[in-house]
Structures are given as C-alpha cells and as structure tokens.
C-alpha cells in the first residue's frame, strides 16, 4: 500500500483509514446515481450509458482504493498485470458480443436482437 514513508504510525493509520473511507464514499456515490436513474425511470438509452460509464469509473475506484493498485513504482507489476488482463478481457468479451450478435442478426433477420 502506498503509504507515505515519513509519517508516524498514528498518522499512517489515519492516512490508510482515509483511503478506505474515500473509496467507500466514492463507491457509494457511483452506486447511488445509476440506481436512482433506473428507479426514477430515466430513458433507457441515457440510463444505459450512465450505468456503463459510472460502472467503469467505480471499477477504477475499487482498484485504486481497495486493491491499492495505483501508479506508484512498487505496484507497477500488478498494474501491468491488471492492464494486460483488461486488454484480454476486452478482446474476448467485446469480440464475443460482436461476433455472436453479428451471427444472430444474419441468422434471424428482422428480429430485434436487444429486445428486452
């Protein structure tokens, strides 16, 4: 955890505690907003965008404040691993959705594919 070195033990404790509290606060805000958007009936398109963007931000918040992976040199290896995994995850997940929806569309033309 990237606690500054020059702090006394009590200060370092406070510093770390503040990190978790900040994380919790940000995560709460980023959770409450999309939930209320859905509960109070925001239009579907706008709500989906909001959910996606805030979800991604919240993941970054979790990584930063709970998993403690940041830009500091001592966490560089974990950061690389996370980014590499993220890249592969993106290739696999986005690729799957793209390929399979494309096939679905061509197999059954005229049907609404995302028709919840």
């Amino acid at each position: 955890m990237s606690t500054p070195k020059n702090l006394s033990k009590e200060e370092a404790y406070k510093h770390d505690l503040k990190g978790y509290v900040t994380g919790l606060g940000l995560a709460l805000v980023l959770t409450v907003i999309p939930f209320s958007a859905v509960i109070f009936g925001m239009s579907t398109g706008a709500a989906l965008w909001l959910i996606a963007v805030l979800g991604l931000i919240q993941i970054v918040v979790h990584v930063r404040y709970f998993l403690h992976v940041d830009l500091s040199p001592e966490r560089r290896e974990d950061l690389h691993l996370l980014l590499f995994s993220g890249l592969l995850l993106f290739i696999m997940a986005a690729g799957t959705i793209w390929v399979v929806l494309n096939m679905n569309y061509r197999m059954m033309p005229g049907m609404h594919m995302i028709g919840m």
Binding site: E77, S85, L88, I91, M92, G95, T96, W98, V99, V100, N102, M103, N104, R106, M107
Partner: protein
C-alpha cells in the same frame, strides 16, 4: 430415461467392453473394441504385477509419487505423455488403415471410427503434447533460471495429479462404455443430451475439465516462478529462450484455459441439469460454444508450439556452436505471437455465418501471425549460418522441423483466407494442415527436447542410431501420411468419414496408409531407443553434466541434477552465462561458502488428486453420485486441510553434505578428459566439453 441405481449409477454389465466380444456376434470391429479394453486391463495387471514383483512400489511411493522435486514431476509428465502417445499413434494408424480400405467400407463401424478420431484428438492435444511440454518446462525452467524449485511445489504436484486423473478417465473409457463421438472439439448440439445421452461426451467433459484445471495451475506456477525465482543477475533479457517461451506459454495457460472451463461447465449444465446454453430448443445458442471453445482453442495452439520453438532455439544454438542469433527479435516475436493468438479465434469457424467484414478482419489478424513466426525461422537459419553444425538427433529434428513446418505454416496462410477456407473447410486439407504444424512443429520439438535434456534427467545419453532411425521414420512417415491428405482434401474428401465412394481418393488413401505404417515403426524405434539406451547406459554416461557443449545454466550442474539443483544460488552476469564462464575457464567452480538449503517436504496431494479426481470424474460420468460426492469432498477437504496446516515436513540439506557432494563432483570433472565435439557421440564423452570453436557470448 435411463435406469439409475444408487450403487452403480447408470453403469450396467452391457457397458463393460471386455465382455462385449463374448456377448455379441464377432466382427473385426468388435474384436478391436474389446481387444483395446483387454489391452488396458491386462496392461494394468501386468504393470501392477511387475511393480509388485520388482518391489518397486515403495521406492516409487517414497521418491516419485509424493515428490515435489520439479525434475521428478517433469519426468512423470513425460512418462504420461509417452503412454498416451502409444495409444494416440495406434488410434491414428487404425484410422488410416480404415480409410485405406474405405472405398470398400473398411473394417470399423462408423460409431467406433468416430470414437477413434475423438479420442485421438483429445489424447494427442490434452494428454500427450500438453503433458510433454509441461514435463520439459518442469525439467528445464527452474534449472535454466538458477532456482531451487518452482514457486509452488505442492501445487505442481496437484497439477500433475489432475492431469493424470483426466488421462485415467480417457483410458477407463476403453473399458467402461463408449467415448464421445463428437470429435475433440465436442460441438453441441451433437454432444448435447438429446443426440448423445450416453456417457461419451461426459467422459470428454470431465477429463478435459480436470486436465484444464491442472494446466491453469501449472500456468500460474510457472509465471510466478519465472518472475520471482530467477537467480540474482538473471535479468529478463538474460533468460534462455526456452524460459522465455515457457513464460509466454504459462501466461497463455493462465488466460486461455478459463474459456474452455466456461464452455465445458456450460455443456455440463446443459447435459446434467437441463440448462439451455447450447441446445436447439428454448433459446439455446450453439454458436456460443464454438465461440468459447475457440477462444481457448486458438491460444492453445500457441501454448503447444511456443515451448517447441524454445527447444529449437536452444538446440540450434548449442549444435551450431554459436550464440543464438537475434535473441531480442526472438523474444519480441514470441510475445507478439502470444498476444496475437488471442485475436484470431474466429478463423476456426469462418463458415458459421457471420458477415464478410468480420471474416476479413480475423483473416488478416491470422495472416499477421505469419510475420513473427517467419522472423523466428530466419533467426534459426542465421544461427546455423557459418556455424559448425553437428547433426545430432535433436538438431536433425530441428532441421526437419524447419523444412516441414514452413510448408504447414504456408497451408495455414492459405486457410487464413476466408474465401479459400469456404472451399476446403471440413475437408482433409484442414486435417493435413494441422497435423503438418503439430507433428513437425510441436511433436518434433518435444522429441528434440526429450533427446536434448535426457542426459540432464537421467545421467546418460540416448542411443543415437535408434534416434536417427526414429527421427527419419517420423519425418518420412509424416510426409507419406499427410501430404496425400492435402491432395484428397482439395479433391473434396470430407474429414471424419468412415468410408468414401470416390475411387479417385483410393490411391492417395493407400499411400497415406503406408505412411501410417512408417509412423508406427517410428514409434517402435522410439521404444527400442529407450530400451537400448537403458541397456547400454554405461557407454553413454554423462558425469560432467555438459554432454553437448551447451550454453545455458542447466548444463552447469551435475547430471542428473541434485534435488537442490545448485550448491549455492548462482549469480549471473551474462546471457548464455555458462558458455561465457566456460570460455573464461570458469565453468566449474566451488562456492566460497556453503550454507544449509531449505526445501519443501513431500506431499500426498498429487496422489490424492489423481486417485480421487479419477473417482470424481468416473462418478459423474456414470451418475454414481455417492462416488462423485465423496471423491470431491476428499479432494476439497484435503486441499483445505493442507492449506491450513501448511508444509509439515520441510527438509533441510546440511551445508556439509552439499559441500561433500559438490566437491566430489568437481573432483570427478577434473579427472575427466574434456572431449572435442568430434567425439560428442562417443563413449569418451563423459560430459565435459573441450574448448574449441565456441564463440564468446556477451
């Protein structure tokens, strides 16, 4: 619905294959089916009796089954690979014999033939090549990076146990019931419960799931090992090429096995619990299976080939007596292949129905992989250029690989073009292509590595004469068997057919059958080689540990390497450090001080996983729920128990013992007359290389 009893699940007397030959009218097909079952049963009894008679159970138990020594685990992986290789080759030969007679209907039933190609593919990929490369990685990587062992020795034993459990299931399918007829890819809905209600696909699912889990753990283990256990001074860019390729393969294992696990878990849910992931009915989508399977399947191809590339790199440099040419470009090419391998999976189902733009993008991505692969071929050729190349057995495998693999790679570039793929997909052209990359590509690499590191594993070299015979038979047999398949494939002969009606195919099929005969002789020669080598081991002793005048760290230790690998952790300050040290006359040194070495203790976990993993799989396949549940509980509880207790028997090797052993070895090395490379294959080669034309590598 089938009858299920509590005690035996769905297992009934009709399912026991050895009995079938007595219960039904006799046919060639049935004799082969029951004969294989009898071979497994009698082979098992024979091995059991032999081990008992020789009194080998206790030494095996004490020194091997419970061992966490990476070299021993590696050897056990290779033994497994050899056993499965024998079955896989026999099945391949049977298929070629069937098709040689295919115009007249052959001698196998369609169902039996379908089981043969399903098990052949499953075995060769999951239970022959994967254990083989994992074995070589286990043997070589920790030695190459100057480590005591892998990072998680107990987990290494667990991986081996899970792999064995999967292999046991595949072998057991010969005795109880039928294997899947759905090919090694097991596409639903054909492998779904409505088309194959029997145990076949379940055998496939559980054996692949168990071994897949083992491979994931192996991957994690080796990534961490290579990241964390390198000796001081062994920077990434000083690592031997084989270690680099092992690293990339391990990364691929970590990230590419999960899609396979997901695909097989979903198929399990479909088959056992009536889910609709891939069914025809109620909104299932079988295209998802093809997609998930190949998300794993394509990186898997590179999991297989990269370690082989690593072996070729080591072998080429060693037997050309030169520094490896283009080290940096080889590293970059390996990493590029590893990443690109995740972007091309769709080329396995170009014809599934997505539009032309999607196909074009994946076609281009596929062709891109040809570039880094080409770089590697040029690097190896440049390494040989102006070297004094010694055509030993490993080197011969390497040169034959270079010629044959390039042909296979080129047919791959042809297939990467979707419009051509539409013409030849599902024909024997494709079968010829992937055998052309897997046999000369991966399998030759495994055999080269086996021959190359054999003295490091056992302290004596393999017999050369039988090695040459075997190598040429594999090469010629491969050409005879698979080049005709390109031809009939282009003529339109579909794959996986038990018989055919076009007489134009027959001459090619006969030629291919002849090739299969040569391949079976190659396998025979490989077995003879092992027998002759053990018999004549006194004439091929490797005492100094460096029989090939090699360049990397594993050759700086005695052969076979002591269980602690190095008397003290070496400090590395060059690439190809051993070559540099030998050049400076400092190849064999004593540490200034010795200290105690702490090693992890032996473990039962591997045995537990192998025995109860098999029990779990068997119980699931036959719906014997008590057996599955009990086996799973035992596996889970012993794993948790071991995690809580930790290693209860860690083991310390006293400094004095290490010093005595190491100095005794150094004494022997000084007494040995170093040999020049002209005497490399002679009895005089006791594993200490003379200075010759070795080029400094800085």
């Amino acid at each position: 619905m089938e009858h299920t009893s509590f005690l035996f699940g769905r297992l009934t007397l009709d399912a026991i294959d050895p009995l079938k030959v007595f219960l039904h009218p006799v046919s060639t097909n049935l004799i082969i089916l029951s004969g294989a079952a009898w071979a497994v049963v009698l082979g098992g009894i024979f091995v059991f009796a032999l081990l008992t008679y020789m009194g080998w159970w206790k030494p095996l138990w004490d020194n091997w089954f419970r061992s966490i020594d990476h070299k021993k685990i590696g050897i056990m992986y290779i033994v497994l690979a050899f056993i499965m290789l024998v079955r896989g080759v026999i099945e391949g030969v049977l298929m070629r014999a069937q098709q040689a007679d295919g115009l007249h209907g052959g001698f196998l039933s369609a169902d039996h033939y379908a089981q043969l190609f399903s098990t052949h593919g499953t075995i060769m990929i999951f239970f022959m090549l994967m254990p083989f490369l994992t074995g070589l990685m286990n043997v070589a990587v920790p030695l190459q990076i100057g480590a005591r062992d892998v990072s998680f020795p107990m987990l290494n034993s667990v991986s081996l146990g899970l792999t064995i459990a999967g292999a046991v299931l595949v072998m057991v399918s010969l005795v109880f019931g039928d294997f899947s007829t759905g090919g090694w890819t097991a596409y639903p809905p054909y492998t779904g419960v409505s088309f194959q209600p029997g145990p076949g696909p379940d055998y496939w699912l559980w054996s692949v799931t168990l071994t897949g889990l083992g491979a994931t753990l192996t991957g994690m283990n080796f990534v961490v090992t290579i990241y964390k256990e390198r000796a001081p001074g062994m920077t990434f860019f000083r690592m031997p090429m084989f270690t680099w390729t092992a690293l990339c393969t391990a990364i691929l294992m970590v990230f590419a096995m999960p899609p396979l696990t997901v695909a097989s878990v979903m198929l399990v849910l479909d088959r056992y619990a009536g889910f609709h992931f891939f069914t025809n009915a109620l909104g299932g989508n079988m295209m998802n299976y093809a997609n998930l399977f190949w998300l794993f399947g394509h990186p898997e191809v590179y999991i297989l080939i990269l370690p082989a590339f690593g072996v070729y790199s080591e072998v080429t440099a060693t037997f050309s007596g030169k520094r490896l040419y283009g080290y940096g470009s080889l590293v970059v090419a390996t990493m590029a292949i590893a990443v690109l391998s995740f972007t091309v999976w769709l080329h396995h189902f170009f014809t599934m129905g997505q539009d032309a733009n999607v196909n074009a993008i994946f076609g281009i991505a596929t062709m891109l992989i040809g570039i880094p692969t080409g770089v590697k071929i040029y690097d190896w050729m440049a390494t040989m250029y102006r070297g004094r190349v010694r055509f030993t057995v490993p080197m011969l495998y390497t040169t034959n690989f270079m010629v044959l693999f390039v042909l296979g790679g080129l047919s791959g570039i042809i297939l990467a073009n979707p419009s051509i793929d539409f013409q030849v997909h599902n024909t024997l052209f494709l079968v010829a292509h992937f055998h052309n990359v897997l046999i000369p590509g991966v399998f030759f690499g495994m055999l080269a590595g086996y021959t190359y590191w054999f003295p490091k594993m056992f302290g004596f070299r393999l017999n050369d004469t039988w090695g040459y015979i075997s190598c040429w038979c594999w090469s010629i047999g491969f050409g005879l068997t698979f080049f005709p398949l390109y031809v009939v494939g282009l003529m339109g002969m579909t794959r996986r057919t038990v018989s055919f009606t076009n007489p134009a195919f027959e001459p090619w099929m006969l030629l291919s059958g002849l090739g299969a005969a040569v391949l079976s002789f190659a396998l025979f020669a490989l077995c003879v080689q092992l027998y002759v080598s053990i018999r004549d081991r006194e004439t091929t002793r490797d005492i100094g540990g460096d029989p090939w005048g090699a360049r990397t760290l594993e050759w700086a230790t005695p052969s076979p390497a002591p269980h602690y690998n190095f008397p003290a952790i070496p400090h590395i300050n060059a690439r190809e450090a051993f070559a540099v040290a030998k050049e400076a006359g400092a190849g064999y040194q004593a540490p200034k001080t010795y200290s105690d070495i702490h090693l992890p203790g032996d473990t039962m976990m591997g045995v537990v996983m192998a025995v109860f993993g098999s029990g779990f799989g068997f119980g699931m396949v036959w719906h014997i729920w008590w057996m599955a549940l009990a086996s799973f509980a035992i596996m889970a509880l012993s794993f948790i128990g071991r995690a809580i207790r930790g290693d209860r028997h860690p083991h310390t090797v006293p400094a004095a013992e290490i010093q005595a052993e190491h100095e005794a070895w150094l004494e022997k090395v000084r007494a040995i007359t170093p040999v020049t490379r002209d005497l490399e294959l002679k009895q005089a080669n006791l594993g200490v290389a003379a200075h010759e034309y070795m080029e400094a590598a800085q």
